[in-house]
Amino acid sequence: MSWEKSNFFKFLKETMFLAMILLSVYVFPQTGQTIIKPYEDDKWPTPENIIDTQIVKFLSNYGQKLRNPCSDYVFIRRVYLDVTGTLPKPEEIDAFINDKRPDKRRILIDELLDRDEYAMYWTMKWCDLLRVKSEYPINLWPNAVQAYYQWIYQKIRENQPYDKFVRELLTSSGSNFRVPAVNFYRATGGRDPSSIAKAVALTFMGIRFEKLPEQQQKNMSAFFSRVSYKKTSEWKEEIVYLNPETPEKSIKLVFPDGKTVEISPQEDERKIFADWLISPNNPYFNKNIVNRIWAYLMGQGVISPVDDIFQKNPPGTEILELLSKELTKSNYDLKHIYRLILNSRTYQQSSIPAGKQHPDTNFAYYKVRQMEAEVLLDALCWLSGEGEGYVSQIPEPSTYIPKENRTIALADGSITSSFLMTFGRPSRDTGLDSERNNKPTDKQRLYMLNSTDIQKKIRSSPILRKAFSQVWKNRTEAINTIYKVILSRLPTQEEISIIEEYFNNSGLRTDQVVGDIAWALLNSKEFIFKH
């Protein structure tokens, strides 16, 4: 009897299981595309914007359309990670899901762009690009790193117009401690005119200096030939200044686009160069930054790699022209560009591509990619209830970073840890985008799957402890809590039955089962990848 009964239930369970799989996949009546739950929705909550009009038209050339809308659960996690480098908290998820306003996605985007974490996260990206580190090969030294970092953070926080930001970096003179922007010229790898020109080309034009013809390299370097450095009596202070020995007559210099300019003896060539660079018609300036922002948010540049865009015109670059115009029109307001992209259906579409993609149609889904090392570590620390903390004794002055500080806010690229190196944080030696390595490795998998660190983080987690105590009263509640904390969503029926089965048949103690569920979700692609 009992045997028959259990078999019957097994049969029932399996049938239900199949039915649920069938239920979770159905067809979106409007587009004819299959809806995959819990990642996709069947209705667009977002109106089409100017980006979408162009992208939809572009995709139609390939007989493709945008993918399904991502679900609200996917959206909140995606936009939190992309804008603030931070996971949404369970109460933030609840508030968003229960929000009935039709434009709640737009409201959330605005709110996130105003957060401190937005400034921290994007300062981190700028520091990668500007090579902010105290030691070899950049050698800014710790106190200059702090000054420079604070300056960049402040500018991002107050949303300084991008043209002013770049102009300050290119034209400042003074002490590395007191005029932090001059550190741009101290973080260029070498201090000769061609090393400086190389860094300028890479950072603000998105091109590889070394690929330019020799004459063009010489022409561009000439704008930086008077940049000089001197020490002061204060330890490690350095003044960046223009060599006052000017030529007696005016000189002729040639811009990278071939146009010439006459510079009189009193003028600062760097300013003349900045005037040329920062203008609406410059072929590099706007294109470089909007392509970079597109790549950060969409997972791949319209032109890739983002720092080698010279004379590359893959299909679809019209979208960069549109964004470039928007940048100028908005008075170089970078947040305007973020808003345009984040509020587009293109950004809000599903990360599940429709089968194999034509290489030109990368816009037709949101590209999955691993969280950055710093973001992943912060997420794990938040979960465990305890931050990392960093100490660097050498070089002096020694740096102490308390545990409360986020790793995304770590100013100095020279301060690192085995975790950060394992998960591919850039060394900030060159400013190349390829320095960050988000690709999975076996060492990363070993750490996540089997390290005592992860084990401890799960056991000590105050947020998960709630689930550990819930499990005795209400298993489903406990499972919901774990899912919301780790994956920012609720489990599907299918997932609940898999877990129920693990409770019933694994032969493990309840606390082991709960630990294993958290462990499995932490090791799922859905946790580790932005999606």
Binding site: V368, S418, T422, K439, D442, N523, K525
Partner: protein, 429 residues
């Protein structure tokens, strides 16, 4: 007829060349074990005793013991090593003059003085570059292992980058289970590992939804490789329960002894570079009490390792080198608060080398009457490190491949070098 003759000549030539080639490979050291006496061990109390210098220099460790090599005596605190002195050589004139831990450690591990603007890779990173993946090593275990705690930033991969970083095992091999970080998770049985892996695969909903993403495929492959270490054969190299009790006892049932045993097992598995990061030698206070305890386990563990390697025929292809970042002040400080302590001393200290093409039973160099300064044949860190590289078949003056675009040699002599060069006197041809 003529043609056959030519053919024969060619064949003979080919055989000779390949024979010479294999001979060359044979004589090369395949693995290196570094025993790093972190903190700096006393030369007087180990391999360079000075009994005639009196109590102020010797404290209670004022006796010497003859070794099995006529003419060589070492401190009586090392009786087991005294019996196998024919298997290793002693360098009594190591010197660099640096008395700060980090700078001295950096110099001893990289062969470069600090402060040049570059962070150079350690010997282990260089050897794992030349003898690691793609260079004849295919093991699942990383090619550069540190037992058990990482040595920190001044002694690792330097500008070679994270791919050449040492893998620090964590854990303690003298415990019931050697919990190698990432490979052996304490408290989780194999059964649970297998079950939860199944759970993970079942719950991988997003992965199943995007089966062809290239990053997801990489992720799956990395995970499979990780599980080969977690559940496969690979981890057995760390499982000391496979060793007979007598062997484990001979090495000493303590952290150091069992690390030596793991090191031997890693050599058998083909790992090119193993460091035993052996702390506790920075004895400013309580020096002699600490020495009496530590030297006993050191003597037992190291002698067991050298003997065992020799018995298994591995010593010819395995270099063992052992020293700290510096020595300790020969004159004991009896005043408070030291009350019988020894400070940092980089002017003259000892190192020992064994196997892999180093001759045994020799002494290189000489210190003065009290063991304070070098009297004969100074040996600088680069001399010792270059000799090890040379025996590993790596020319210290060849270019060091790197992705930083640096035009740099493996380990050149510094400018204004005034030493006497590599340790030719104890290197077999």
């Amino acid at each position: 007829m003529k043609r056959i003759f030519l053919l024969n000549i060619t064949l003979l030539f080919v055989i000779c060349v390949s024979y010479a080639h294999s001979e060359q490979n044979k004589s090369q050291a395949k693995s290196v074990i570094q025993i790093w006496m972190w903190g700096g061990s006393s030369q007087n109390d180990t391999f360079d005793p000075k009994p005639s210098a009196g109590y102020d220099y010797c404290g209670p460790l004022d006796k010497t013991i003859p070794t099995n090599v006529p003419g060589i005596e070492i401190n009586a605190s090392l009786p087991m090593l005294a019996k196998i002195a024919d298997k290793y050589s002693i360098i009594r004139s190591m010197t660099h003059g640096i008395n700060a831990h980090e700078s001295a450690a950096y110099y001893m591990q990289t062969g470069h003085k600090p402060g040049t603007g570059l962070v150079y890779p350690s010997l282990g990173a260089i050897i794992s570059l030349f003898k690691g993946y793609g260079k004849g090593y295919n093991g699942k275990i990383p090619p550069y292992i540190v037992l058990t705690q990482s040595q920190g930033r001044f002694s690792e991969e330097g500008f070679l980058g994270p791919a050449y970083k040492a893998f620090a095992t964590g854990g303690d091999p003298s415990q019931k289970q050697f919990a190698v970080e990432g490979i052996v998770a304490p408290g989780i049985s194999d059964q649970q590992q297998i079950k939860r892996r199944e759970l993970l695969q079942k719950l991988d909903l997003l992965g199943k939804s995007i089966p062809d993403d290239p990053d997801f495929l990489l992720f799956n492959k990395a995970e499979e490789e990780a599980y080969e270490m977690i559940l496969g054969e690979t981890r057995k190299v760390f499982d000391l329960s496979e060793e007979p009790d007598e062997v484990r006892d001979r090495y000493g049932r303590n952290w150091f002894g069992q690390c030596c045993l793991v090191a031997r097992r890693l050599v058998e598995a083909g790992v090119p570079y193993i460091t035993i990061n052996y702390p506790g030698w920075d004895t400013h206070k309580q020096h002699f009490q600490t020495m009496q305890r530590k030297l006993a386990e050191f003597d037992q563990g190291l002698s067991a390792l050298i003997e065992d390697l020799s018995k298994r025929g591995l010593l010819d292809t395995t270099i063992v080198w052992c020293c700290g970042e510096f020595g300790r002040t020969p004159k004991v400080d009896w005043s408070p608060p030291w009350n019988g302590g020894r400070g940092h001393w980089g002017y003259c200290f000892s190192a020992i080398v064994a196997g892999g093409g180093f001759k045994g039973g020799c002494v290189v160099g000489e210190s003065d009457a009290k063991g304070e300064y070098v009297a004969k044949r100074p040996v600088y860190p680069e001399d010792l490190l270059r000799s090890i590289l040379r025996l590993c078949g790596i020319d210290p003056d060849e270019p060091l491949p790197n992705d930083k675009g640096l035009d740099i040699k493996v380990m050149p002599y510094p400018e204004n070098y005034s030493g006497e060069g590599e340790l030719k006197e104890i290197m077999k041809k």
